[in-house]
């Protein structure tokens, strides 16, 4: 690892109580405070424990397949104003996305805390599959909460989790999607906290989850920074990532935050457009509030009731965003823009056809953003984009969207 890489603990953010400026913190029931304190304290110890680091690094190398590649995408770049586009290949990790980085770390932490049962939420199923995988590997009992709507939309991932030995609980209250799965997981946790760890899947939630999950994904940007220096001899002009809850983006950004010459860009799910009621762009189209344990940007009505989110990508379909992103947005260090469903799907197809890589629809939002960024930077520009996951899980959605199943496809037959 390059010695100039900043320290992942970055103890100044958040503060001791989990605040990123005015954001973050811990808006959670008193009953969970002891458990949250335990996770925070154990992580402080673990991350400075060479034995723990060695065990996690060995898993990341021998099980996940790290370091992930940095792949140049020249044919895709022709559609990005000629700027050089470098793909950080988190899609090549075991289980097919960046999610495994966080999950392996927290599963080790679970064992370190002497707990035997893990619960987690999942939307599209990526975090659920990764969690079920880590629990199978480490012999932990595993329960995954998933909105009933999502269990129908992602039936194959439900089967995958069950194959891995996890119990999948469909959540049939509220809007029956990711946010309700999180509510239900919190309800389970408060009743079973004695033996259970809530393996939270993104950089949201009460302290210490935003910092813990960021730290476990720090490796993404740390590797990319070193790889881009090796490849191009300089730092990139921009690092781009999609943002739902924001874990892959925090992982990609964190190592670059001190490099003030590197522009950081988060692309939110704009759905039908942020001026409509159907999107999931919390920063671009929401307002500060408190949700799922943290102060952050939230899609909410006049009275603070959470509004339903929409995105073609289930992994970005969440009405809030991690609090560190909220703080980075207000501070101006990261620029957040919204990408519509249509723009994301166009980029999804473009990468597939120009590079032979089918991205996750989540990651396709970042790719769509890069097309715009590349045009702004011009041919001298170097852009690293986090390809957070692979698109196997999205083939059904894409087949329907592009009309690929019945009459074949001709490249122009959007049927959305």
């Amino acid at each position: 690892m390059p010695s100039e890489t900043p320290d992942p603990s970055r103890s100044e953010h958040p503060d001791a109580r989990g605040h990123f400026g005015r954001y973050g913190g811990r808006f959670s029931p008193e009953a969970l405070v002891a458990a949250l304190d335990q996770v925070a304290e154990e992580w402080e110890k673990a991350k400075n424990d060479p034995g723990f680091r060695a065990e996690l690094d060995a898993l990341l190398r021998d099980y996940t397949g790290r370091p992930s590649l940095l792949t140049e995408a020249p044919r895709f770049a022709e559609h990005c104003g000629g700027a050089r586009v470098l793909l950080k290949r988190e899609d090549l990790n075991h289980t097919g996305s960046h999610k495994i980085n966080n999950v392996l770390g927290q599963a080790l932490l679970t064992k370190r805390m002497g707990k035997t049962r893990v619960i987690a939420e999942t939307g599209a199923g990526q975090h659920g599959v990764a969690t079920a995988t880590a629990c199978a590997l480490m012999g932990l009992s595993c329960v995954i909460y998933m909105g009933e709507e999502d269990t129908r939309r992602q039936a194959l991932n439900v089967a995958r989790m069950r194959l891995l030995g996890a119990e999948v609980v469909p959540v049939s209250v509220g809007s029956r999607t990711l946010k309700d799965a999180i509510n239900e997981a919190f309800r389970d946790w408060v009743a079973n906290v004695e033996n259970t760890h809530y393996l939270f899947g993104t950089v949201a939630g009460p302290h210490p989850f935003p910092a813990l999950v960021r730290d476990l994904h720090y490796v993404i940007g740390e590797e990319a920074r070193s790889q881009v220096l090796d490849l191009t001899g300089r730092l990139p002009d921009a690092v781009a990532a999609c943002v739902g809850g924001g874990s892959n983006a925090m992982g990609a950004f964190a190592a670059f935050i001190p490099d003030t010459g590197v522009g950081l860009y988060g692309f939110e799910a704009g759905g039908d457009g942020v001026t409509t009621t159907r999107h999931a762009a919390a920063i671009s189209g929401g307002a500060p509030g408190v949700f799922h344990g943290a102060r952050t940007y939230v899609l909410q009505d006049t009275y603070g009731q959470t509004l339903p989110s929409h995105s073609i990508s289930a992994g970005l379909d969440y009405p809030a965003v991690g609090p560190e992103h909220a703080w980075l947005a207000d501070s101006g260090r990261v620029t957040y823009r919204a990408v519509t469903d249509a723009q994301a799907m166009e980029a999804f197809r473009l990468l597939s056809r120009t590079e032979g890589i089918i991205p996750a629809i989540e990651s396709a939002h970042a790719l769509a953003g890069v097309r715009e960024l590349g045009a702004e930077l011009g041919p001298e520009g170097v852009i690293v984009v986090n390809l957070s996951g692979r698109g196997d899980k999205d083939v059904d959605t894409a087949a329907t969207y592009f009309g690929l199943v019945d009459g074949g496809e001709d490249g122009s037959g959007e049927s959305a």
Binding site: R17, G25, R26, F27, S28, P29, E30, A31, L32, V33, A34, A35, V173, G174, K179, D180, N183, F186, R187, V190, A191, V193, E194, G289, V290, F291, H292, G293, V298, Q300, T302, Y303, G304, Q305, T306
Partner: protein, 273 residues
Amino acid sequence: MSQTTLQAALARTKADGRAALIGYLPAGFPDPDSSIKVIEAMVEGGCDVVEVGLPYSDPTMDGPTIQRAADTALAAGTTPPDVLRVVEATAATGAAALVMTYWNPVERYGPDRFCADLAAAGGAGAITPDLIPEEADEWLAATDAAGLDRVFLVAPSSSDERLRLTARASRGFVYAASLMGVTGTRAQVSGTAEKLVARTRDAIGDGGGLPVCVGLGISNRSQAAEVAAYADGVIAGAGFCQRVLDAPDLETGISAVRSFAEELALGVRAGRS
């Protein structure tokens, strides 16, 4: 600061040598006007204090019964102004009215404005289940300015240090969660409740006099009596909601709610006899 209606109610029941009966119902359940009628029945049946719930889209501390009640209230279009109207009607019954609310609706409304409007409606204060004292600076200032009570929660998992912190921040009473879990009726009251109340009284210290009330899982007369033996107040919520949900019509539901309150009222009076 003059005594709030909540403080007066708890002083009165203490003088009577019994625990207070505290009932919970979401405002707007099953609709705003009907919720007022249900609350009136709760008071007629013997509730000394009513927690008027502000229905919220993401109630992570509530079990299925109160979730359903809150969803019904939201579907009926209940807003914070409706909640304040229900508070006003509750206060008019003579019972002390407290709002029970997750934090975001208050933050969105503006804590100062919320407290001013709540005080104007005759409310005594509010319970905030997802706000811990460390995050409550604005809330402490707003409730102080309006002279309102603010009730924080303690749980069996709370350390002695946190019990002291929470007790210091609370006014009106301290809400002791009887068990580790969400709202809802239980077959038995957890054995951890009595110990938690004792630990909380130790944290409050001599001469503090801050009452400790117990909630979560209390669903019949004998449980109410059991808790009333050691707590200053007995809190029941899901049992009221369940009776309205189970009833074929509002009239029947209201009558079942009144009977349930009467049953619990006998329990809190039997607790120390």
